[in-house]
Each structure stands twice: as structure tokens, then as C-alpha cells.
Point group: C2
Chain length 107, copies 2
DNA sequence: GCAATACTTAAGCGCATGCTTCACCAACCA
DNA sequence: TGGTTGGTGAAGCATGCGCTTAAGTATTGC
């Protein structure tokens, strides 16, 4: 999943697919590489569940599947929240300590 | 950034760091690999801006930096939103078409 | 039917990655 | 002071990844 998004060319393909479905050659057009290479990238994206595709006649049409994107987003946001919550608690703790010091100073 | 999160061992290190700062050997402990390897992974995470660390005495303490996580999260959610908006418009369009058909049928 | 189109598949190549070992240094502590 | 702990750096190796070429297959249009 993250592996699939790690490559800039694949991210560009995802970017393109955000704007709507595309055939393999449409995906290949802005990229400076063989159709073969594009197909291989596509296989990785499909493997990661990021893209679905179906072949009609001789043209394969691809589109984004947001399920996997959602999963990745969740993974990140969970971890970020976890850490930030900890950070907040630390802040609260420090503030409390600070308060205690002041009170001791006052007494 | 995604590259850095692509490796499961590095994700595990991030996971560990969510629960608070840790030394290099603490990070290494649950992983079945040399300290050397862990340091190398750490370098990647630091390179991606995911982790900051400082050395006090002979122990290096690492902690998460959520800035990069936030950036990754934003990248994903922007793309997801883009695609889902498109999807909604398509839904609206189809519904409208459907409505038009009904009206024509009624007229 | 024949050529062009739109992929598909397999083989191979070079470079990046992930890991190990080994040697080393800097703190800590008994 | 000398051994142990915690980390660093370089070298080397195996594997995986991204890409290309080349040959093949299935549709489509004339």
C-alpha cells in the first residue's frame, strides 16, 4: 500500500486517475516510459487495491478505488492522533508541574 | 516520505515512537536485526522528516515529528476527496438523467 | 483478409535497498 | 583504570525494483 505510493510515477498515475477513469495508454502518455513499464506499475497499484480496471474490447479502463486510500489515511491519522494526544498530556503535565512550583513558591 | 513508510520495520518503529520517545536500542529491541540496521532505518525516517533525534551522553533519543505525517495525510485525503467529489457529480448526473427520462415518459 | 492499435508477457539488466559483519569511539561505572 | 554499554561508519552481499527490449495476442477498421 505505502509501497505502492512510494514511487513518484505511480503517484502521478493516481493523480491522473483522480480526474477520472483512463485507459492504459492515456495513463502512459504523460510518463516518459514504455507502455510495458506502465502496465507493471498498474499491476502494483491494482495489487495494493488502489486501482480497479476492466477490459472492454482491446482497451483496459482503470479507475481509482478509494478503499485502500482510506485505509492508508486512517493508519496515518491514528498514529498522528496517538502521538499528539501524548504530546498534549505532556503539555498538561508540564503546566501542572509549573502550577505546583508556583504554589510552592507562594506558600 | 511514502518511501520511508513503505518498509514494515520502519512502520513498526513509527508505531513504537507513537507511544513516546525511545533510544535507539529500545527501538531495536522488538526487531530481529542488528543495531546497525536499525540505525540505517532511523536515518531514512529522519531523512523523511518523520523522526527527530538528539544525542545526550552516549544515548540517542528519538521522537516522532508529526509534520511529515500530516503532509502525507493531506496528500491522500486531497486525492481521495477529488475522486469522491467526481463520483458524486457522476451520481448526480445519472440521477438527473433518470429524472429527465421519467419526465419525458410522463409528458 | 490485412494492417494498425492496444495491450500482454517474458527475459534481462543496472541500480537501490535491507541487511550483516567488523572495527571503532565515547560515555558510564565498578 | 579497565570493562561494559550504546552507538557509529564502512564495506560487502543478496534481493527486489524499475525499466527496456522483443516477441506475441486479441480487437478494430478499411
Amino acid at each position: 500500500m505505502f509501497q505502492a505510493l512510494a514511487d513518484p510515477n505511480r503517484r502521478q498515475m493516481v493523480q491522473r486517475l483522480c480526474e477520472g477513469p483512463a485507459s492504459v495508454s492515456e495513463l502512459a502518455q504523460p510518463l516518459q516510459m514504455t507502455l510495458s513499464a506502465v502496465v507493471q506499475h498498474l499491476a502494483v497499484l491494482e495489487g495494493a487495491g488502489l486501482v480497479r480496471s476492466q477490459k472492454i474490447g482491446r482497451v483496459r479502463t482503470c479507475q481509482l478505488d478509494t478503499q485502500a486510500l482510506r485505509a492508508a489515511e486512517r493508519w496515518i491519522s491514528e498514529r498522528r492522533a496517538l502521538w499528539e494526544r501524548r504530546f498534549d498530556r505532556l503539555g498538561a503535565f508540564l503546566a501542572e508541574q509549573d502550577q505546583n512550583l508556583k504554589e510552592e513558591g507562594g506558600a
